[in-house]
């Protein structure tokens, strides 16, 4: 096109009516309400930090967040009940957001795990009171140097980092958008919106602050690195298709697009753009879900971050990221199936095996769970690869089941403490089953669910994804998955043996008696684990109805 033509793009001829040129964007606020509610609440949270006196901030924040999350969840339910998940599914906000089954389902899951995670954030009974103040698991003052006078002063003054609540909400809002983003820009922004607060949250542990900060730095640098790749991938994809919208790109990819201008025709010819771009975006998402070889941040961050954050992150991030991955692969790149499926096969296989094998020799419970989450990412990928409706719904179900079990497991980890805070070294868990059978039993339930023993949520999920994969013609994947879950079983069992069959250490940790908050978290998790294990049909139906993407 000529230079003048381009010039006319951003200069308007004088005299013409400029207002009429820019159409007012049409936003369906109702359908975006979940996200908007959370965002609004987050902003309120910021205001609370600014204006509410320190003493009552905690309560105000907890109140605001709980209300917001509940309201948002209610909104999601309402939308789903209104049929937006199925019949009325469509693209909202000028093509930026897709309101359809998967996005609503995943938003629901994210909100719930956010709520449950929030309880663990708000827990203040586990640590002994410092100077007569209840303390939670976050640093008294993130800015103060560990061990410095300022920190002591902050502790003495009974400061608490109540900013974590708005941060949590911001992260949640990002996660809500992530799986429902319907153009690459929204995808990228959402990615950053939920990543940045998490980076911060990681740095805010009360105990072991050095580890916490190290975790934050690693997570941040690697995260930024990854999102740079994602962005470049977006750029290339944009270059290929000349548009950011999923729908258009999809059309261009499978060549069903109608109005082809010469420039597009030119770039369309160049598949390298498409393939490299697609690969780079996928890589960014694989980083978020912690798939091998993009997993290496996971153990360190999971270990260093404050355990409530770890639990929330492990659950919600995976859900959001897999949601986005599904949409990308199913809506944008279905035309490329024959290119990315083999690659994903490889990724899934090494993820399943790698996670399981390395986990065997772990000695820290949080790292152990981190590797187990990697292995699980592999299992879910197997479902993603199925590229069938069953695949989608099975992945949705798996994510739902998995997130609850994970949060529950980490919540239990917060309970087992000794002088140095949480006793995360496995050796300290020896004989826990003798000291407090109940906690040990609950944890055993979670472990068995991770291991995929029948009558637990883990089994139902695993069966669902493997079934989808096998039906989708990925039988070898299923076999590998089965073998790696056999390997994985080994270390879950090891923990159970440790808890029940070995003698308690004299210097062993004590089990703190939590407030109703954590109890609620664990209770919900156990309930979910068992219900999804014994009577999963209702939730499978939900996932099935939600299994269709809108284009």
């Amino acid at each position: 096109m000529s230079a003048t033509a381009v010039h006319s793009l951003w200069t308007t001829a004088a005299g013409a009516d400029p207002i009429s040129k820019i159409p007012t964007p049409k936003i369906e606020y109702g359908q975006l309400s979940p996200t908007l509610i959370i965002l609004g609440a987050a902003l309120i949270g910021v205001l609370v930090e600014a204006f509410v006196p320190r003493k009552s901030r905690y309560y105000a924040q907890v109140f605001v967040s709980v209300v917001a999350l509940c309201a948002a969840f209610a909104a999601v339910v309402a939308l789903a009940a209104d049929g937006y998940g199925t019949t009325k599914a469509h693209i909202a906000a000028m093509g930026a957001i897709a309101v359809d089954g998967p996005s609503l389902f995943l938003q629901g899951v994210i909100l719930l795990s956010g709520l449950v995670g929030l309880f663990t954030f708000a827990e203040r009974r586990l640590d002994p009171e410092a100077h007569g103040n209840r303390v939670d698991s976050f640093a008294a003052q993130g800015a103060s140097v560990p061990g410095s006078d300022s920190e002591k002063a902050a502790v003495k003054a009974g400061f608490t980092t109540t900013e974590v609540f708005p941060l949590l909400l911001f992260a949640v809002s990002g996660m809500l958008v992530f799986p429902s983003a319907n153009d690459l820009l929204t995808l990228f922004v959402a990615l950053e919106v939920f990543s940045l607060p998490l980076y911060l949250l990681c740095a805010l542990a009360r105990r072991k602050r050095l580890l916490s900060q190290e975790a934050a730095v690693k997570y941040f640098l690697l995260g930024a690195f990854a999102s740079a790749f994602t962005l470049f991938g977006i750029a290339l994809l944009y270059g290929y298709a000349g548009s950011m919208s999923y729908a258009t790109i999809a059309q261009v990819v499978d060549g069903s697009i109608t109005n082809i201008n010469p420039a597009l025709a030119d770039t369309m010819g160049n598949d390298a753009l498409l393939l490299i771009g697609g690969a780079m975006i996928v890589m960014g998402l694989l980083f978020k879900v912690g798939a091998v070889p993009f997993h290496m941040w996971t153990p360190d961050v999971y270990q260093g971050a404050p355990t409530p954050v770890t639990g929330f992150m492990a659950a919600a991030t995976k859900v959001a990221a897999f949601g986005a991955l599904l949409r990308l692969l199913y809506v944008v790149l279905p035309g490329l199936r024959w290119d990315w499926r083999p690659v994903m096969w490889g990724v899934a296989i090494i993820t399943m095996l790698g996670g399981a094998i390395v986990a065997i020799t772990q000695t820290d419970i949080k790292r152990l769970l981190a590797y187990s989450s990697i292995a699980h990412a592999g299992f879910i990928l197997a479902g993603v690869i199925a590229t069938t409706r069953d695949g989608v719904s099975s992945v949705l179900f798996y994510l739902g089941a998995y997130s609850f079990v994970t949060i529950g497991a980490f919540a239990v980890v917060t309970l087992v403490r000794d002088a140095g805070g949480e006793a995360t070294h496995l050796s300290k868990w020896a004989g826990l089953g003798r000291r407090s059978p109940l906690v040990a039993a609950v944890f055993a339930v979670f472990l068995l669910s991770f291991a995929g023993i029948p009558l637990t949520a883990g089994f139902a999920g695993k069966f669902a994804v493997f079934k989808a994969a096998a039906a989708g013609g990925a039988a070898p994947l299923v076999v590998v998955g089965v073998l790696s879950s056999a390997i994985a079983a080994f270390f879950y069992i090891r923990v159970i043996v440790l808890m029940f069959f070995s003698e308690p250490r004299p210097d062993g940790p004590t089990v703190a008696v939590p407030s109703p908050l954590t109890m609620a978290t664990i209770g919900v998790a156990v309930a979910a684990t068992l219900v999804l294990g014994v009577a999963p049909q209702y939730f499978l139906d939900l996932a099935n109805q939600a299994g269709v993407f809108v284009r």
Binding site: P454, F459, A460, A464, V482, F490, E503
Partner: protein
């Protein structure tokens, strides 16, 4: 719809388990009585099932069918054929004895040992195992079966790892580690088997679209469901592997000796007499029915493995120094016979195999429980630590002898009938294998009699001089089993009548007919 008898039979012990676990820690005796009562009630239900079952009737009776997980094509489908009925009866019968025999096995140890033994837990777990075993006998839905086939491992695992021989654990760390090794080995072995089966189960779903045994078998029969030869073989192998681990079949057997050696005698009985039967049962019900062609394809290899198990197990039993290990290897040998009978694919062989499952359950229970009483008296499992018991505890020795004789399948005792049937059934189709298997009976005599001679006869060892004879409770456990052994030895008809029709159907599933005798002499 009628009263869900089968569900009740499985649910009763399950509820009993929960109730028992809920008994406050102080009232351990109450828990014991509760557990015993529940197991007896279950036995009663089992007998009702036995009575309500009509050998001449449909293949699966007392059926129940409710939707469960439609999405996985899973239905809650129960139903029993003769084979299942026999095994359910066996299970329901043995559990009360197991509980009674283990009456004091879970009592807190005397001071000086920190071992943690929640009595309630022990008996609750036993009942839980019973419930799961029973329902996996009843399930006619592959998935339903699989779920309990797997879930069963967990309570068994805690029983093995949590409650070792009283004799061997005065806070002794080495024993504890050994025990947990055994428990982990048991669990991993069976879990791997189960997971491989899971792959096959999924495969089955992909091929068949549902899990209903009846539907699939029928669809296969009338050709509406076609399986590619290789698919069928792979699926068969997946299923068979799991069952062969459970059974256990050489060379997948090494978990059994450890598990039986480390667990208390009642738990050992639970493993070998009840839980392992699920494996052999499943071969008969699932492998043959779902994959007839593949079963026939694999038969030669399986027969050879079974043969190896028979001889190998017996020889190893001869070489053991530990009473329980010896019994374990003996069981491996016997499982060899059972599998041999199943895959000989003759009516004598399969009826014999089914009968064998029942008889082996009873005889092993008798032998193992008496051995347990013996061990609990002396506090050692080593054969070398005994001698001349017969002089100080004649009744114990006598019962032990009868148990041994049953194990070497002496005519007149139950195991003889089944073993002979298996041998004949095998011989009619595979003479060479039949003859080699016959050597097993000589070896059986060897290891049992050597065991008896070393422990019971000869001069009285000072350590056993003060050994008390069987107590009433213990006699109450052993006597009925012995009576049963003799009764089924001279009059097995009740069992065979129930079993025969089902075996006939199984054979027709695999399209096999008995070889005809060369001379038609029978009238």
């Amino acid at each position: 719809m009628s009263f869900p008898l089968l569900t009740a039979t499985a649910a009763l012990p399950a509820l009993g388990a929960v109730a028992t676990a809920a008994v406050p820690a102080a009232r351990r005796t109450a828990a014991k009585w509760l557990a015993l009562f529940v197991s007896l009630a279950t036995l009663a239900l089992g007998i009702v099932v036995l009575v309500r079952f009509d050998p001449g009737g449909d293949r699966y009776q007392l059926t129940e069918s409710h939707p469960w997980i439609a999405d996985f094509g899973v239905r809650y489908e129960l139903g029993v054929d003769g084979i299942a009925v026999a095994l359910i009866a066996l299970t329901a019968l043995l559990i009360p004895f197991v509980i009674l025999a283990g009456w004091h096995d879970a009592d807190p140890l005397e001071t000086g040992s920190k071992r943690w033994r929640p009595t309630q837990g022990f008996f609750a777990l036993i009942l839980a195992v019973e419930a799961m075993v029973i329902i996996s006998f009843e399930a006619t839905d592959v998935f339903l079966f699989y779920i309990f086939f797997e879930a069963m491992l967990i309570p068994m695992y805690f029983l093995i790892g949590g409650f070792g021989d009283r004799a061997h654990e005065h806070g002794d760390e080495a024993a504890a580690t050994q025990r947990s090794y055994a428990a982990v080995k048991f669990l991993l072995y069976n879990l791997v088997g189960g997971l491989i089966m899971l792959a096959a189960v999924i495969g089955l779903y992909v091929v068949a679209g549902n899990f209903s045994l009846a539907e699939i078998a029928q669809a296969r029969a009338n050709g509406t469901l076609h399986m590619a030869t290789n698919t069928e073989r792979w699926l068969f192998l997946g299923f068979f592997f799991a069952f062969a681990v459970k059974a256990p079949l050489w060379p997948l057997h090494t978990w059994l000796p450890n598990a039986m050696q480390e667990s208390t005698a009642p738990v050992a009985v639970l493993i070998t007499a009840v839980v392992d039967k699920v494996g052999t049962f499943a071969m008969l019900r699932f492998c043959l029915q779902l994959f007839p062609e593949a079963s026939k394809w694999a038969t030669p290899v399986i027969l050879v493995l079974a043969l190896i198990s028979i001889i190998y197990g017996a020889l190893l039993a001869v070489g053991q120094r530990d009473i329980k290990r010896l019994v374990a290897y003996a069981s491996i040998s016997h499982f060899g016979f059972i599998i041999l009978g199943i895959f000989a694919m003759t009516s004598q062989g399969q009826s014999g195999a089914t009968l064998y499952m029942v008889n082996h359950g009873i005889s092993t229970a008798a032998l193992m429980l008496v051995a347990g009483f013996l061990i609990s008296r002396r506090g050692s499992r080593l054969i070398a630590d005994y001698g001349g018991v017969q002089k100080v505890a004649p009744v114990l020795a006598g019962t032990f002898l009868i148990g041994s004789l049953a194990t070497l399948s002496l005519p007149g005792l139950a195991p003889f009938v089944s073993e002979f049937l298996v041998l004949v059934g095998t011989f009619t189709r595979y003479p060479a294998i039949g003859i080699i298997a016959t050597f097993g009976i000589v070896l059986a005599a060897l290891y049992t009699l050597v065991l008896y001679q070393r422990t019971m006869t000869g001069p009285v060892k000072p350590e056993v001089a003060a050994m008390p004879d069987l107590r009433p409770r213990e006699l109450l456990v052993v006597a009925p089993l012995i009576v049963l052994l003799i009764f089924l030895g001279v009059y097995p008809k009740p069992v065979t009548d129930i079993v025969n029709p089902s075996v006939k159907q199984t054979l027709s599933d695999v399209h096999k007919k008995d070889p005809k005798p060369s001379v038609e002499a029978a009238k």
